[in-house]
Symmetry: C2
Subunit: 376 residues, 2 copies
Amino acid sequence: MADPTGLQLRSLIKKSGELEISLKRIAIPEPGADEVVVRVEGTPINPSDLGLLTGPADPASFKSTGSGDDVVVTAKVPEAALAGLAARLDESMPVGNEGAGVVIKAGSSAAAQALNGKMVAMIGGAMYAQYRVLKVAECLPLPDGATAADGASCFVNPLTSLGMTETMRREGHKALVHTAAASNLGQMLNRICLKDGIGLVNIVRSAEQAKILRDIGAKHVVDSTAPSFMNDLTAALVETGATIAFDAIGGGKLAGQILNAMEAAINKTASTYSRYGSNVHKQVYIYGGLDVRPTELSRGFGMAWGIGGWLLFPFLQKVGPETGHKLRQRVVAELKTTFASHYTKVVSLQEALQLDNLAAYNKRATGEKFLINPNK
Amino acid sequence: MADPTGLQLRSLIKKSGELEISLKRIAIPEPGADEVVVRVEGTPINPSDLGLLTGPADPASFKSTGSGDDVVVTAKVPEAALAGLAARLDESMPVGNEGAGVVIKAGSSAAAQALNGKMVAMIGGAMYAQYRVLKVAECLPLPDGATAADGASCFVNPLTSLGMTETMRREGHKALVHTAAASNLGQMLNRICLKDGIGLVNIVRSAEQAKILRDIGAKHVVDSTAPSFMNDLTAALVETGATIAFDAIGGGKLAGQILNAMEAAINKTASTYSRYGSNVHKQVYIYGGLDVRPTELSRGFGMAWGIGGWLLFPFLQKVGPETGHKLRQRVVAELKTTFASHYTKVVSLQEALQLDNLAAYNKRATGEKFLINPNK
């Protein structure tokens, strides 16, 4: 490595309520015995990254100053949101959950040396950077011929979608519902469910999104903007028997509509009336917040129900390392099929800070997915 | 028994959307070997009974025709609510979860004969009636000197409040929050928590309700109508460490406010920022619906959270008969202390159908509690 420094993207929210995104040149430390230095060549912008990168900043307030490596993007964070951010205020934070790249330097251990020159996928944060030093255990060696783009999204979406079907089974459900279902993650979940023979009800927000899913073989696709939405959803729930949902939207009425449709589907076969509703437990897990408005539940679904947050890392902790290893091995084995990701645009670190790009990925629009190549 | 018939209250919702409450004269069957006939002398009107008695009928539409035993009350059920009632439409339903009275006839078994002439508490529905035939196992013999009023509310409120502290322990929490906390149930829960040394945050909706609780020794009372509500609640949560709540309100913003205050309380001691919020699980169980509006959650409480329905009978099934027996024995032992109920009015079956009484108990107002004495 001729230059022992590299650029790293930073997000800072000041106590004054100003968000500041910038690039810092940082030194690349020598790797420890069990560590490697990776030249990051692909790192996706997932909704989970935007929580840290732009947070609750007002999208209308983004401004840019400076240019090249010295570009600084600023925006305003509404005062009401600052209380919830207390622990990160005035602290400059690196961003980027996962990525992939080439090992350009390895520590002295045999395990580290074995990775030298290899393309690896990585998890562990601070991936929006030209170089990343990390432990061998945080790397997943990719098969020969895999590119950084192939491996950049190896963890979050693949393990999240596998985590959904795993959670479904562990909690005693036989089929599931997914919202924002035409997303990269949603398409992955469809491929998993088709392969594993699991009933999946896909909820989308437009006819175009419905077509994306039908074109990849999805059996149950329901458009929440159609006037017949509740009837369509109930019919799909009767057919699949789905009583658990994973919801990326979070805000608005959708989570409650899903519970109400589940209850209606269950009651179509009920023989006796209970004023407390059916005794079949109906569950919605909110794993994203594409709609930041409040969640509104019109409680017509009896008393056997639950809503809660769902996150990949607590899930992996709960299922333990053996199951986690099994899931990761499946991802590598099906990297170019079940778990293939598609990107609409590849940008450099500097380009990621251009206001037009920022506005595009910050919208979290289905079908739009950015990949950063910090060494582009 | 000179007259082998008795009056029974019935609630009927017709497919046309009309609610009809009336009194029917029904024959009292001979008790089986393991059964007894009880002359019902006290049966409370709990919120859980109103779900079946008046359901979602429009309170402004109640009308009365006829008089005496032939009185009929009618009201309109909004069309939107009919779908959820499909299984009870056009079926005349008896009402009343629990009650107490004197065994006036007993089956041939020794267990039944042992109850003859005794005052018993009962669970099993259809208690808004002059006589009730039921199995010995559904009766709980009351201590000598206990009146029907003492024993009428022996099951629902006592076991529900004990179920709350039991659930708190089983799910790993150390203190709890309760809403509509000045209710009969809330006062009971306070007595349990004071006796058992459990931290309890009481949320009430007026200064008068706060006084009721302070007068019985409640330590943490927070008024949701006060401008300082969120600060007061957060402070009480910091003091108690409560991370589970039981909410009788259901609708509006309260459940979400509780989760947000729990998260703020937890974060007061957090040392590092996580964009997903604290990793401490925060839970709200909705066990009532005093506010029938949608539940509105402003999700500022991270991802480690859950909301769900909570009901006594599924809880008792989950914990099993041994725990259930232990809880019931505690209720009998502390019937006139911890588990004492107070009634604002005692009415006959006919009086329960008078529009002024109906309007009063149908309001589900805290502090107002009706007891029906069908043999008044």
